[in-house]
């Protein structure tokens, strides 16, 4: 697992074996470099030559957000197991990949998530109680202000990729120096939407950064059965887009690579794709049982590369925090979560008719008739929310 890469290798393509059977050909010269970046090693030791220049407050905020979201995953899991909320996709293990990247954006930049970016969403200012409302099954949790620069999560895998390209394109059309960052998983790279989105991004040179979280699994399908390509980063080259790999559990490497890509986009030099090598430490969603398809020993190996642990070592080495801080911040996080759960519980809606809202702008009389029929029925029959 040197340098955060999976030990597993893709099936040998037997390319070179056939070399002697082939006739001599000229080689085509094309930009085919893929690079790999790591700054904190597996133990949290920093490569000082590469260390990015991040202010202490930012570093601490990053660490605290990691801790908060890790705790939030645990809290949500408890609520889910108690039946209070529905299915969700935990970020656990991927905090560095999400936060190291999202922190390179400005507020005025656009954020296009997949469905597993709770950490990034929280960094962008999402309220935990809204997440809970949504996961508990209330559309009210999805409310986004009209001037938002965050898209809602995208559940159909990969389908958000062209949206991000379109958003970035509009910014370019208006000559704004706004960047769009788009998240997706390793599995998503197999979808046609990934391909079409990156094709457009390459042709129109839009200011977008594609942030691939290669967490090595798409539900039960391991990375090496997802595609025969050796890296995911190299896929970018098919679109004339640079592709880079980073240690995705190394918050500094993720930040540095993303910052370069964001700057590049902002300067009008086009898109970049970053493959952040990370790992889905837990379940895919609460409906999933990973013991069906993967070995605990693999998970164990990745546990040794935990992004939070590595950052803690780094911050302690730098003297930015100590054990007491750590304890205090964790308590703070728990308190914040507890308060959010209370706010969510205090705000649980009880109306049903709202399901008819926000279909289209105007009210269609026939739909209004359906609404009335149903509301009258609910009233008569005593049908309630969550029944």
């Amino acid at each position: 697992m040197e340098e955060g890469r999976s030990e597993r290798t893709v099936p040998s393509r037997r390319w070179s074996d056939r070399k002697e059977k082939q006739m001599p050909r000229s080689e085509v010269d094309w930009p085919n470099e893929v690079t790999y970046l790591q700054i904190l090693d597996a133990d949290g030791k920093v490569d000082e030559d590469l260390e990015p220049d991040l202010p202490k407050e930012t570093l601490i905020k990053l660490y605290k957000t990691m801790v908060l979201v890790r705790e939030f995953d645990a809290a949500r899991l408890r609520l889910q197991r108690q039946g209070e909320i529905g299915t969700f996709a935990p970020s656990t293990g991927q905090e560095a990949a999400q936060l190291g990247s999202i922190c390179a954006l400005k507020d005025s930049d656009w954020f296009v998530p997949s469905f597993r970016e709770t950490a990034a969403q929280v960094w962008r200012g999402a309220k935990l109680e809204n997440d809970l409302l949504y996961v508990a099954g209330f559309e009210e949790g999805m409310a986004l202000p009209e001037d938002t620069r965050d898209l809602p999560i995208s559940i159909p895998v990969g389908s958000q990729v062209p949206h991000a390209v379109g958003i970035a394109w509009a910014s370019k059309m208006r000559d704004e120096d706004t960047v769009t960052m788009c998240y997706f998983g390793d599995g998503a790279t197999s979808e046609g939407d990934f391909h079409e989105g990156l094709t457009f991004a390459g042709v129109f040179e839009v200011p977008v950064v594609f942030l691939n979280q290669n967490n090595h699994w798409a539900i039960s399908v391991p990375r090496e059965r997802q595609t025969a390509s050796k890296t995911l980063a190299q896929k970018a080259l098919a679109y004339g887009i640079p592709g880079v790999q980073v240690d995705g559990n190394d918050v500094l490497a993720v930040y540095a690579a993303t910052k370069e890509a964001v700057d590049r986009a902002r300067d009008g030099d086009g898109p970049t794709m970053i493959e952040a090598l990370t790992y889905r430490m837990g379940i895919h969603t609460t409906a999933d049982d990973p013991t069906k398809y993967r070995e605990e020993s693999e998970v164990e190996k990745w546990r040794e590369r935990d992004p939070i642990d590595r950052m803690r070592v780094y911050l302690m080495d730098k003297g930015h925090m100590d054990e007491d801080d750590d304890e205090a911040w964790r308590e703070e996080a728990k308190k914040e979560i507890k308060a959010a759960i209370e706010r969510y519980r205090d705000n649980v809606p009880d109306d049903l008719g709202s399901m008819f809202e926000h279909t289209v702008a105007e009210r269609d009389p026939y739909l209004e008739r359906q609404r009335k029929e149903l509301m009258d029925y609910w009233e008569r029959a005593g049908v309630e929310v969550g029944h």
Binding site: W110, A143, P156, G166, I167, V360, P365
Partner: protein, 346 residues
């Protein structure tokens, strides 16, 4: 937006005679003058002016930043159009034929139709998905279907089909201004078939999308149609009136979703008879919904003096060009159907 426009051009109105292609082209042109967030993207819409020349001249006028030739990737077109709409633009995306829009079906169903709901109104998508549809122009396989049902059955999408140059102009401009995604289907059978004279201009008043349009009042039977079929229906109604003395109430439903059944049902209560005429397949074509809305309404159902007849294309794949005209419901079939429903109770 680099384009500099004389204010004079914007204020100008004029009366011109146009066919459907010209009307759609002009509608986009005027809308782009009127609102500089409007842009066009699609395959071959730029330099080529569209394979039917519907976007002809627009790239020259507005530049290749606003009239964009895209790669050959429909989900890319739909998906980036959604992104453009999220970020302040009003894209008009062209799908070369409705038969190739299905590559983007999931973008329509999962995103275009749901963004308003999924952000509780925070993000709305003012975008138009233009797609030529329908048989009768000797096109290839996959080029001739009439599958508006897919969009009508999808909550969150609107579906609009014009039936004349004037309506094409006005309805397209209304669709571009509509705050929600509009699946805009162009009857290519009508593209070059007949002109109409009407007033146009970048800043003229544009009514929002309408309900059902009573195009001719009548007492004996209600005929409901839309799109290319509507013009065939209109001719049939002339024949019926002139040759058989049957007074037809002829209704066009350019907005198929949301469908204005109030207007149609009211007419059927008056006439007691209804014939639907469209080139979509019979099973779960729009005629099914029109019939069902009649049948579920006591006061309309019990006024019926004859079955609700659906004169439609059959439930088969559109045949190749030598048989497509026979496949398409024609005037004769509508005339016969109306005569037949008139025979009931008389």
């Amino acid at each position: 937006m680099a384009l500099e426009l004389a204010e004079a051009e914007k204020g100008k109105t004029e009366t011109v005679e146009m066919n459907v292609i010209e009307a759609i082209n002009r509608a986009m042109d005027d809308e782009m003058l009127h609102d500089d967030t409007v842009l066009i993207l699609g395959e071959d819409v730029g330099k080529d002016g569209g394979i039917f020349r519907v976007t002809d001249g627009l790239m020259d006028k507005y530049g290749k930043e606003r009239v964009i030739d895209t790669p050959l990737a429909e989900s890319g077109i739909a998906g980036t159009a959604i992104g453009l709409a999220v970020n302040g633009m009003r894209p008009i995306a062209e799908f070369q034929f409705s038969g190739f829009s299905y590559q983007a079906f999931h973008q329509f169903e999962s995103h275009a139709a749901r963004m308003r709901k999924r952000t509780q109104g925070g993000i709305t998508l003012p975008l138009v998905m233009r797609m030529p549809y329908g048989a009768g122009v000797r096109a290839l396989e996959h080029h001739s279907e009439s599958r508006e049902t897919y969009w009508i059955h999808t909550p969150g999408l609107k579906c609009v089909i014009p039936s004349s140059p004037r309506k094409a102009y006005w309805l397209l401009r209304a669709s571009v201004r509509d705050p929600d995604p509009v699946m805009w289907m162009e009857p290519k059978y009508l593209y070059r078939r007949g002109k109409e004279e009407f007033e146009v201009g970048p800043d003229i008043g544009i009514d929002p999308l309408p309900g059902a349009l009573i195009e001719q009042e009548g007492d004996d039977v209600t005929v409901v149609s839309y799109g290319a079929s509507f013009q065939v229906a209109a001719k049939a109604c002339e024949t019926l009136e002139e040759e058989k003395g049957i007074s037809v109430e002829l209704i066009d439903i350019p907005v198929l979703s949301p469908y204005d059944s109030e207007t149609v049902n009211k007419s059927v209560r008056k006439t007691g008879r209804c014939v639907v005429f469209h080139e979509a397949h019979r099973t779960l074509g729009m005629g099914a919904e029109i019939a069902a809305r009649i049948t579920e309404e006591e006061e309309t159902l019990f006024r019926l003096e004859a079955p609700v007849v659906r004169v439609t294309a059959p439930d088969i794949i559109v045949p190749l060009l030598t048989r497509e005209m026979a496949y398409l419901p024609d005037q004769g079939r509508l005339v016969e159907a109306v005569e037949k429903v008139m025979d009931y109770g008389s």
